[in-house]
């Protein structure tokens, strides 16, 4: 089966493999690379108002060919509204959207023919079988019947659904449904894949399978826009992240760089009584680190190697040392308070 999959992906339209790779690694501002280097998505000053409420406020960003951009933000930050504006499901109040160098929403029909979308909510046809769902979707893209049959077959194998082809959607597990949503999004061999929480509610096995498939697609040069609250997922898949909050872009860039710049190199999580933590806090202040107290926990974000920290801590107590990650960055930039109260 593995061999089959690999063969299949050779047929996928190539989009300048090496170019895509070098783009993915480099910064978006880097030297353009051939004609494939233009931004697949370029958004300037995008704004959305629902009545008085400003949901998206002059957002600008671009996604280069072959890149996966992680779209992050607390609930209500404006991520889904933003994506829906790209897809024309929400009308923009102001700003400019260009996808494949075509103006949206004017050329939406042309644009959407080249996009694949994995929506957050399951929108499969519950009355139809796995295979029928894919054929129906192929029909919307006007993919000729014969070609559709070939693609459906390939996608069923790629997502390990071929033994389920005649199953009605109701009988599928959550993981199978998600895989089918992904397969459906790929029926038109999209150049841009928009993934809105693609692994929400799945078990680790199912998530890993989906990640592997997405990585295969990335190797083939598919451009991706990913939103997720699972920051391990975003770290694994994205070369660029963009953090939104209250309708603004808080920060965007290469995740490792952003973590180093805003959080530091590593994090110490220390448990203790308030007086113990007070004492530690005082001694840590000599280090190049930022400190944060949350309840009975002290977080120390070390900006540089600080062996002294460990020495102080080795005296006892319960603590944990780990590399700084995207979640630290996220919390640092958007705060700890709940958004939906």
């Amino acid at each position: 089966m593995l061999v089959r999959e690999r063969e299949w992906w050779h047929d996928w339209p190539s989009m300048g493999y090496t170019c895509a790779m070098s783009q993915a690694i480099s910064q978006p501002e880097s030297i353009p690379c051939g004609t494939n280097s233009q931004a697949v998505v370029s958004v300037t000053g995008l704004t959305k108002r629902f009545g008085e409420r400003l949901v998206v406020d002059k957002i600008s960003f671009s996604i280069h060919r072959g890149q996966c951009v992680g779209f992050l933000g607390p609930n209500g930050a404006g991520k889904t509204t933003c994506i829906n504006m790209l897809l024309g499901l929400v009308e923009k109040s102001a700003g400019e959207i260009r996808i494949f160098d075509l103006e949206a929403p004017r050329f939406h029909r042309e644009i959407k023919a080249r996009i694949g979308v994995v929506p957050q909510a399951d929108s499969l046809d519950p009355d139809l079988s796995v295979e029928e769902n894919l054929h129906t979707y192929a029909g919307y893209f006007r993919i000729p019947r014969r070609l559709a049959r070939v693609r459906v077959e390939e996608l069923l194998h790629f997502f390990a659904l071929h033994n389920r082809r005649n199953e009605i959607i109701e009988h599928l597990s959550g993981g199978q449904r998600r895989r089918l949503l992904l397969a459906r999004a790929l029926i038109n061999q999209p150049e841009l894949l928009i993934l809105d929480e693609p692994t929400i509610g799945l078990d680790p096995q199912a998530r890993h399978l989906i990640w592997e498939r997405l990585e295969t697609l990335q190797e083939q040069g598919t451009t991706m826009l990913l939103t997720s609250h699972y920051l391990d997922e975003v770290s694994r898949l994205s070369q660029q992240v963009l953090i939104l909050d209250h309708g603004h872009v808080v920060v965007q860039g290469e995740p490792r760089q952003l973590i180093t710049d805003f959080v530091g190199l590593e994090v110490f999580e220390v448990d203790g009584t308030p007086s113990e933590l007070d004492g530690l806090q005082a001694s840590f202040e000599q280090c190049n680190a930022t400190l944060e107290r949350v309840g009975d926990k002290l977080y120390v974000y070390a900006k540089e190697e600080c062996s002294r920290l460990e020495k102080i801590l080795s005296g006892g107590g319960s603590w944990l040392r780990r590399p700084a990650n995207l979640e630290d960055l996220f919390i640092q930039l958007t705060g700890r308070s709940l958004r939906e109260t």
């Binding site: 629902f50 829906n84 897809l87 024309g88 499901l89 929400v90 009308e91 939406h108 029909r109 042309e110 959407k112 023919a113 996009i115 979308v117 929506p119 909510a121 399951d122 929108s123 499969l124 046809d125 519950p126 009355d127 139809l128 029928e132 129906t136 979707y137 029909g139 919307y140 893209f141 006007r142 038109n188």
Partner: protein, 252 residues
Amino acid sequence: MNGFSFWTIWLRNGRVWKKHILATLIGNLGQPLLFLVAMGYGLGRDMAPVAGLTYLQFIAPGLVASAVMYSAALETTYGSYTRLTVQKTYEAILMTPLGVADVVLGEIVWGASKGLLAGIIMLLALPLFGVVPSLWVVALLPMLFISGMFFSACGMIMTALAKNYDFFNYFTSLVITPLFLFSGIFFPVESMSPPVKGVLEMLPLTPIVSLARILSYGRFGEPILLKILGSLFATGCAVCLAGYLIRRRLIQ
């Protein structure tokens, strides 16, 4: 909208319908057939001829028209609302090259097709009750389709405005049932007093019922052109309004 791309939505609905064919047919045809038996046979036996027809003959064409109305209107209310909300079918469709206009047209043409099918089955069933339509009835089929478009579009309008399934009770109780009762299916509109007649003739089902009767028996006494043009105009307006309201609901 792009040519006939809405057709793919029609095909999708057809694919689903094939799986529940029996349930939907019984649901749509049960009522008009029961009325035909109860009113035509039960009540009609002891009644004097109406407009030169036995009562069974008199009500049969109108019941065909009502089968179209029920079938079309129910499809684009309960059916379409399910696709709009629970199943998120429209959302999935809008992520493809298809647009809102395709969705609306696909749904309306689908509802009208189901309506037409219900009408055809009713017509085919009539000889079982001793009612044999004339060959002119073939000319009725396009009009039944137009009427199906109109009631599908009305259903879509309701779907666009609905907050939940209960909302459709207004539609069935305040629109569909009164139309069923007062559009001249069960009594001749012409025999009513002028003001009442005027109102009843403005109801959207009345011209279809009267066309159905004219064409079923090939008895051309009254002008039909105005009825046809009026129905076409009303259908055009309803389709446009449905398109506008569904767009407002789907695109924020």
